[in-house]
């Protein structure tokens, strides 16, 4: 379920930057709001980012320094999680390739 929710959010996120008409923005906002209960249940790590997307879509003004600080905190975790996952994947690949070479 987590992955399905993530995939839906990724799809909406792909569309959102290209949208400028008020009616479509309102539909995207209601879609994201409708997803929040599912996120609470299945994908809590996406909630801050999704809430920020909703806030940005709703706002007609620019991003505030406080929102930038909040983004920094969220993104520090996103970046660190990715780096950790990528390093683990690289280590797994290196071990698999070493084992394959050993068998030759």
């Amino acid at each position: 379920m987590y992955q399905v929710v993530t995939a839906v959010i990724a799809l909406i996120a792909q569309i959102a930057p290209a949208v400028s008409t008020a009616g479509t923005i309102a539909k995207i906002i209601s879609s994201l709001v409708a997803l929040l209960p599912a996120l609470v249940k299945f994908a809590q790590d996406l909630i801050p980012t999704v809430k920020n997307i909703i806030a940005t879509l709703r706002s007609s003004e620019g991003i505030t320094p406080e929102q930038l600080e909040e983004l920094d905190a969220i993104e520090a975790k996103i970046d660190a999680d990715y780096d950790e996952a990528s390093a683990a994947a690289a280590a797994e690949d290196a071990a698999a390739e070493a084992e394959a070479l050993g068998k030759v």
Binding site: V8, S31, A34, I74
Partner: protein, 139 residues
Amino acid sequence: MKKIVLTLALALSLSGCASFQKGIERIQAGYEVVTTAGVSQRTAVIAMQSYDVVAITATNYQRLRRCTGANGPVCRDPALRTRIDAAIYAGRSARNNIKAYLRQNPSVTVIRLADYGTLTKATDTLLEATAVYRSVLGK
């Protein structure tokens, strides 16, 4: 679950077919280039957060076990790892550049296209690289 299906349906209806959506995006991007030589702050901020969402998806993908030929279909293709890494680091750098620019110029309304373009390209690459993974999970 019903809400997720409805949301997915709405997202798909908003996106339409892929080629139509690409065409719309190109027209909008072209319009913004002609009219502003940049994109609005809001467009850039949403693009940053879109990148973040896709980066979380990429993280989940990198956490999968390496494909062995017998553990599919939900597994990690080792051939994609470096491609995803490159897109993540390019997108991260562009996202951080935009944030730094916003800090230095809090009242700016237009974000330069170079960083925005790099960021959206990285997001597109990540979506493309994880497309098979996402489609398998959607079934």
